[in-house]
């Protein structure tokens, strides 16, 4: 019975989906008042300041360009990528679509689904730094332009709790951080709120930066091309940091059963002294904490013996839109016009107002909260690759689950490094 119901539901869904699909292509072909119509797929379904900024900019574009009309179709985030890939496989992509960087853009660029932006790249010359653009390049060609920078490794802390534990300034080195953790534990305060049920935070937030501090930024590309190995002692040392922190009781004891936002909730409620998270936490923290002067943002500490740049933080460029390689003539022109308009100062200023870190230099007014300004300043040290934006899905899954196993004492850092290397080698065969 349930099965039949499922099939029926599926049938209805399918009909709805195909109906949407054909609706979209009709819109493309018939230009109502002579204007060129462009369809854009996004995942801007949530009501967030960032999404509003994007949508408003597009609205303004439509008003100022009578001959071009951009229509947005929003798809919920979790289904977006599956749908995009399926449509790409059927060569039925819309004119423009939201993409993610690195390993996630690669199959689309490799498969020839996206249009190179070479003809208009001068627009962003000396405006957007190469380190941010690089995320959307494949084989040296640019396929999309980033709107924001998502830093994945920031330390938010409560100044009063850190001071009560005897630290006037936030620790700069790992040894000092360990001393802080011990002092907080002695005082009966949970040091760090961590929610690793969804298994990516330890990798994205912690290891992306910690490993870079140890190994330097050349490590990942080298390993993936077969020149280096995950069994490099420096990488193993970085994994061992997680092991050591767990054994020091740095985290809340339910770390593996709550998710990221629940952990943030603990920090916001004042249950813990620190929370390690990315720039995505700025908004919620600004919204929910009244005593903002008490909240500080610090970069990750430095590690003795590390080869990486101790001032850089892991991050990746986001908010990018790519164009379909099927665009030609008038439509291609229109799409290029749109890209030049969209990725320019007004959008970046709106984003800054929404407390989003952007890849370009924008004049920041005094009314911008200190927490945001501090986070924004930390980006100036440069950004290093985020692991899950660089590794293959298989390796990402391995390290995500492996780090969880380390916190449970089921696996040692050496075993995880060995497993990752084995998977890496078999993928290269």
């Amino acid at each position: 019975m349930k099965h039949v119901m499922n099939s029926l539901l599926f049938a209805v869904l399918l009909i709805a989906l195909t109906a949407c699909g054909s609706g979209g292509s009709e819109q493309q072909s018939e230009a109502s008042d002579g204007a060129v119509e462009l369809t854009l797929w996004t995942d801007w379904t949530e009501d967030r300041p960032e999404n509003t900024a994007y949508k408003q900019t597009i609205e303004k574009f439509n008003q100022e360009h009578e001959d071009i009309k951009v229509t947005i179709e929003a798809i919920p985030h979790d289904q977006y990528e599956t749908k995009l890939r399926t449509q790409a496989a059927g060569k039925q992509l819309p004119d423009m679509f939201r993409v993610w960087p690195g390993a996630r853009l690669e199959p689309l660029a490799k498969g020839g689904a996206t249009l190179p932006l070479d003809p208009i790249m001068d627009t962003w010359k000396d405006v957007i730094p190469e380190s941010a653009l690089k995320a959307y390049q494949y084989d040296g060609t640019q396929y999309a332009i980033p709107a924001n920078i998502s830093l994945t490794s920031l330390i938010y802390y409560r100044k009063d709790m850190v001071a009560d534990a005897g630290f006037e300034t936030f620790p700069k080195t790992y040894d000092e951080l360990k001393a802080l953790i011990t002092a907080l534990n002695d005082a009966g305060t949970t040091p760090i709120a961590l929610g690793n049920k969804s298994i990516w935070p330890l990798q994205s937030v912690y290891i992306s930066t910690i490993a870079d501090r140890f190994t330097g930024s050349d490590f990942l590309p080298n390993v993936l091309s077969g020149e280096g190995t995950f069994e490099n002692p420096l990488f193993v040392d970085s994994l061992a940091v997680i092991d050591e922190m767990t054994k020091l009781n740095a985290f809340n004891s339910d770390l593996n059963t709550i998710d990221e936002s629940q952990a943030r909730g603990k920090f916001i409620a004042g249950d813990t002294a620190m929370h390690f998270a990315g720039s995505w936490a700025i908004g919620p923290i600004l919204d929910s904490i009244e005593d903002l002067d008490n909240i500080g943002v610090a970069p990750f500490p430095s590690f003795a013996g590390g080869e990486g740049d101790p001032s850089a933080i892991a991050g990746s460029a986001g908010g990018a839109i790519a164009l379909s390689s099927q665009l030609e003539g008038e439509k291609q022109e229109a799409a290029f016009t749109f890209m030049k308009y969209f990725y320019s100062d007004p959008l970046y200023q709106e984003l800054v107002k929404a407390n989003i870190v952007v890849p370009v230099e924008v004049e920041v007014g005094d009314d911008v909260p200190a927490v945001y300004q501090e986070a924004n300043a930390l980006m100036q040290g440069g950004i290093t690759p985020v692991y899950d934006a660089t590794l293959s899905p298989e390796l990402t899954d391995l390290i995500n689950n492996g780090l969880q196993s380390i916190t449970l004492g089921d696996m040692t850092p050496e075993e995880l490094a060995k497993k990752m290397q084995e998977a890496n080698e078999s993928a290269q065969e």
Partner: protein, 291 residues
């Protein structure tokens, strides 16, 4: 003769739309899965035919066997937990009780609650720091018994199984009660006249008379457990460290998390084969030819 011919044609005609829908949306996708399982495919680039490589890899995949082991545990917990408990309660409730409706509603409630709600609620109750169970244990002074229920690989699976059993008792309870109410009163009365006590009536008359229903319940139970996905997806997402991962969850993660459509299809094919085998064995054991 003429009349019955006409009627059977009419039946075929009437069944046709349903059959068509069923073929397109159930049979074809299954066949497609078989096809994809022979391919290496990321869902986007061109498919590469790899023959039985996916299956070879699957047989050596520890994580798959781990998920199958967990799945078998779910099946066992469901068949040995849900069905007997539901039957027991149904037998208790099958008398002229005051407030019968009330108990039936209470029992059935978990079935109509959204699984997501159940998962989140139980997840909160199992929380190590401020969950109901641990708070209770600590309040009565049994601190030593407080566990990190879902966060510890030893306890995660048993904890999840308790929720699984709890969730579906109500469904079988209602099925059994319906069957019990279909037993003719005369039969039971005759037994009583012959001097049979409660115990004997239950064992010798009631149970044999609803045995068919019990078998159907067991089969529903097995097929439901093999498909189990949503509860675990929300409650633990298979974690920590794969300790509560079941086959459907593993298939989902491989297919849509790692974009290995071919490998994921191979897992579905094995789930399909495994389900068929298990149900075949069970129907044989329980002495009914349902297939």
């Amino acid at each position: 003769m003429h009349n019955s011919m006409k009627r059977s044609w009419f039946i075929v005609l009437g069944l046709l739309p349903a059959l068509l829908v069923y073929t397109v949306f159930a049979i074809l996708p299954i066949l497609q899965s078989f096809y994809y399982s022979l391919m290496e495919w990321d869902g986007f680039s061109d498919m590469v035919f790899v023959g039985l490589d996916n299956f070879k890899e699957l047989f050596q995949d520890e994580l798959f066997w781990n998920s199958m082991k967990n799945n078998v545990l779910v099946v066992l917990a469901s068949v040995l937990g849900q069905v007997p408990i539901a039957l027991f309660i149904a037998l208790l409730l099958n008398r002229k009780l005051k407030g019968l409706k009330f108990f039936r509603t209470i029992g059935f409630l978990p079935v109509v609650l959204s699984t997501v709600v159940i998962s989140i609620t139980w997840g909160l109750m199992y929380n190590f720091e401020d969950g109901l169970f641990n708070v209770f244990l600590r309040t009565v002074g049994l601190d030593a018994l407080a566990q990190n229920w879902l966060g510890d690989t030893t306890w995660s699976m048993p904890s999840v199984l308790v929720t699984v059993i709890w969730q579906f008792i109500g469904l079988y309870l209602v099925i059994f009660m319906a069957a019990l109410q279909n037993i003719p009163e005369e039969v039971l009365e005759a037994a009583r006249m012959d001097g049979a006590n409660e115990w004997t009536t239950t064992w010798k008359i009631t149970l044999p008379m609803i045995w068919d229903t019990v078998i159907v319940a067991v089969i529903l139970c097995i097929s439901g457990s093999l498909k189990t996905f949503d509860l675990l997806y929300v409650m633990t997402n298979g974690g920590p460290a794969h300790s509560t991962e079941v086959m459907a969850l593993y298939m989902f993660n491989q297919t849509f998390g790692q974009f290995q459509y071919g490998y994921g299809s191979a897992i579905s094919v094995l789930i399909f084969a495994f389900s068929l085998l298990l149900i075949f064995v069970v129907t044989r054991l329980l002495g009914k030819k349902m297939l």
